[in-house]
């Protein structure tokens, strides 16, 4: 393939991944690394570097439209970013030391888990939970505009959430993804943050988390300009279009299709990792 053809095809694939990722809320980065390694035979380290950059672009690009709605909680975000950025830094350093077959296996496991999680119904939003002393001291409790007026919430289990977020950051730094699946586990399940608040807050955090490992990746030579360029521009364009049409689209069947794609890619990554084909 010539560079022109390669750039064009990768840009189109990235655009579709960004579009589907934003429509389904599952993120585009998670499918990009397996697509690049399996179908374009890109070394997984270059693929991770390019994907990480695109994760920053989608997160920062969508931030302006998310904050206008007034759901996100910057205190929860900033506090948890201590855990995610530290984890991301650890993950990025780890990624430069472990063999690529191990990276592929971890990636496969994360993909399969994400697919499973996307089929599971979300936990019901909390109603009238008692305030947690630690969350109160950290001023995390808040409220957000709901259909019948402002609705307040009390954040729970801060230490559990914080530790899980460290794990989410480490995976993000290790694999170059936003690791939305682990964030959902931390924020929705452990901390019981309402769905709308957790999604918008986590979008904000993803960019900062990715920036923490991007420096390490760039300085280790994982970010190739020729590959990162079509990936970043494609994913950004796709996700910006996705947030525009999100309101109208029927995402239920789309989510099903996308989670099947994620599952298949996850199995492929496991296979490649275990048979040393990566």
């Amino acid at each position: 393939m010539t560079i022109l053809e390669f750039t064009a095809v990768v840009a189109i694939v990235s655009l579709v991944a960004g579009l589907l990722g934003s429509l389904t809320g599952l993120g585009g980065g998670v499918v990009l690394v397996p697509l690049l390694t399996i179908f374009f035979h890109v070394d997984i380290r270059y693929a991770i570097g390019a994907s990480l950059v695109s994760v920053i672009a989608t997160s920062s690009g969508a931030a302006a439209s998310y904050v206008k709605e007034g759901f996100s909680n910057i205190r929860i975000g900033m506090f948890l970013e201590i855990a995610t950025t530290f984890g991301a830094l650890m993950g990025a350093f780890l990624a430069t030391r472990i063999p690529t077959s191990a990276l592929a296996i971890i990636f496969g496991a994360v993909l399969i888990y994400s697919a499973y999680l996307s089929r599971k119904p979300r936990p019901l939003d909390q109603r009238n939970l008692p305030p947690d002393p630690l969350a109160t001291r950290l001023r995390m409790n808040g409220s957000f505009p709901d259909l019948e007026g402002p609705r307040s919430y009390n954040v729970q289990h801060v230490p559990t959430g914080f530790s899980l977020m460290f794990g989410a950051g480490a995976l993000s730094g290790l694999l170059g993804i936003g690791s939305g699946a682990v964030k959902v586990l931390a924020m929705d399940q452990a901390m019981r943050i309402p769905f709308k608040v957790s999604t918008t807050t986590s979008n904000f955090m993803i960019g900062v988390t990715a920036a923490a490992s991007a420096g390490v990746y760039l300085s280790r030579g994982y970010v190739d300009p020729g590959l990162a360029m079509p990936v970043m521009l494609g994913v950004l364009a796709g996700s910006l279009v996705g947030t525009r049409i999100l309101v109208k689209a029927e995402t239920k069947s789309l989510r099903l299709v996308f989670s099947v794609v994620i599952l298949v890619l996850g199995l492929q990554m496991l296979y490649k990792g275990f048979w040393g084909k990566i």
């Binding site: 035979h41 690009g61 991301a88 505009p145 760039l218 300085s219 970010v223 521009l233």
Partner: protein, 142 residues
Amino acid sequence: MPTAQAPAPQPRSLQAQPWDDHRIEVILGNLLRSGVLLSAAVVLWGACVYLSRHAHESADYRVFRGEPSEFRTIPGVIHSVFNGRGRGLIQLGLLLLIATPIARVAFSIVGFAIERDRMYVAFTLIVLAILLYSLLGSGLGV
């Protein structure tokens, strides 16, 4: 600004909430978007230069070689931009992209300081320190 009449109450739905937070977030959100659009423009410009020169060479990412130092360090990238290299411009755009969330964190410190929230100024400083360490301590600055 002096006004003759008492201002009418704002018709926003959540008056009881710390809306300073929300105002700060809106400003930061717009900052992030401008940063991303700027970096995308620089990347696109670099892409045009790069493709106009290398379009017909063959693309091969099968073997990991690592990038040469001109695409791995901030001084290297700046140097290659001044040499008119397309890939240098792309890396510059990507550096701008990495800088946008870091700028967001830096500005949050100001926001929390205005609200006199010392605890969150401290938390934000920790996050900023980790980010700067990643950018400068990992060899990118040299």
